[in-house]
Symmetry: C2
Subunit: 209 residues, 2 copies
């Protein structure tokens, strides 16, 4: 198909598609002449991927580029690519580095993880993110004590089991699945939490008014 | 305390504190003279709140202002204020309205909610958010079928139970808790999900290499 048809199929303006090509987010079509190229289903899929990462994942174009690099790089060992994928995602959408550190209790998350018995990389950037997010709750009096953190962790362990079990065996597909599933399922979970809060609070009000 | 001391206590620059005052995010101090005012612990708390909403919650200044309006408005009935609080949060940080709607299957979430038996407001904006987030997963082939959605929903129901049980009984405190707990616990859950994924995938690789 020509670029105009790719635009119709994807709902993305021709100028934007050309911009994605210049930024390396959309691979070139098959050259037909000096001014025309032919596009196929792989281009339709790629445009859907770029839009989803930007609009639902809230990623910058630079981050989308990094994700596409990981997804399209030649396959290595399964665990190796999975860790590379997680590293690419690390800090994406996380607490900005400018966050006020006054209330952050360093080491608390390490102690909590050790007590829980979670096997995680001790230098993982999400440990610092968790420290900051936990400190932010404390600083406004939300009262996130260790018991409540444990109960949230129980639930997120259940989420992670669903996540990990659904990863395909083939390495290339696995990386794609991990990267996209991590970024794009977060908004699903946020919306489910809001709706579940409504259901639970309505149900509880009736039982215990 | 004077403004300079408030700045020291909170780690926020004097110019920024003045800006918060002009924007109505920080209430005035007690006037001492034409150029000086006295600030107290309520100001320290408010600055911590504003910083947390901006830095961890990722909210705009305008949204922070709306949250503060809800938190500081005179109390009504408990359920009434809780619903007002949820409405204030609705769409905050949600999928932008520019999202490509081509793949969104309208009504799917309503059917799924009905089947699940969740009692939620049928016009709640998070229903539309969930539709878009679900469609985004489908459009890139993440394969979020209804069974997997149900398993995620089971976990988020557990999260919501923890959320709702921790809400204080007094209406003013309840609103504050719901608004802040909703915005500031999301980043905690995201970080927990990433760490739990690591733990679960390492544990599973060993059991089933």
């Amino acid at each position: 198909m020509r670029l105009a048809e790719l635009s119709d199929r994807t709902g993305v303006a021709v100028a934007t598609l050309k911009y994605y090509q210049r930024e390396g987010l959309l691979h070139p079509g098959r050259t037909l002449s000096r001014t025309q190229a032919d596009y196929d289903e792989s281009h339709v899929e790629r445009v859907a991927l770029v839009r989803a990462l930007i609009e639902v994942g809230g990623m910058s174009l630079a981050s989308v580029g990094r994700v596409i690099d990981v997804i399209t790089s030649p396959g290595k060992q399964r665990l190796e690519v999975l860790e590379a994928a997680q590293q690419t995602l690390a800090r994406e959408g996380s607490t900005p580095a400018t966050c006020d550190d006054a209330h952050v209790r360093r080491g608390r998350v390490h102690e909590w993880i050790a007590r829980r018995g979670w096997e995680v990389n001790p230098t993982d950037p999400f440990i610092e993110d968790l420290e900051r997010a936990w400190a932010a709750c404390d600083s406004v009096g939300i009262g996130l004590d260790e018991e409540r953190m444990d109960r949230y962790a129980d639930q997120m362990e259940g989420v992670a089991e669903v996540d990990v079990r659904s990863v395909p065996a083939e390495p290339q597909a696995a990386v794609r699945h991990v990267v996209l599933g991590t970024v794009l399922v977060d908004p699903v979970l946020v919306a489910l939490r809001r709706l579940a809060q409504q259901h639970v609070s309505r149900t509880m009000e009736r039982v215990d008014p």
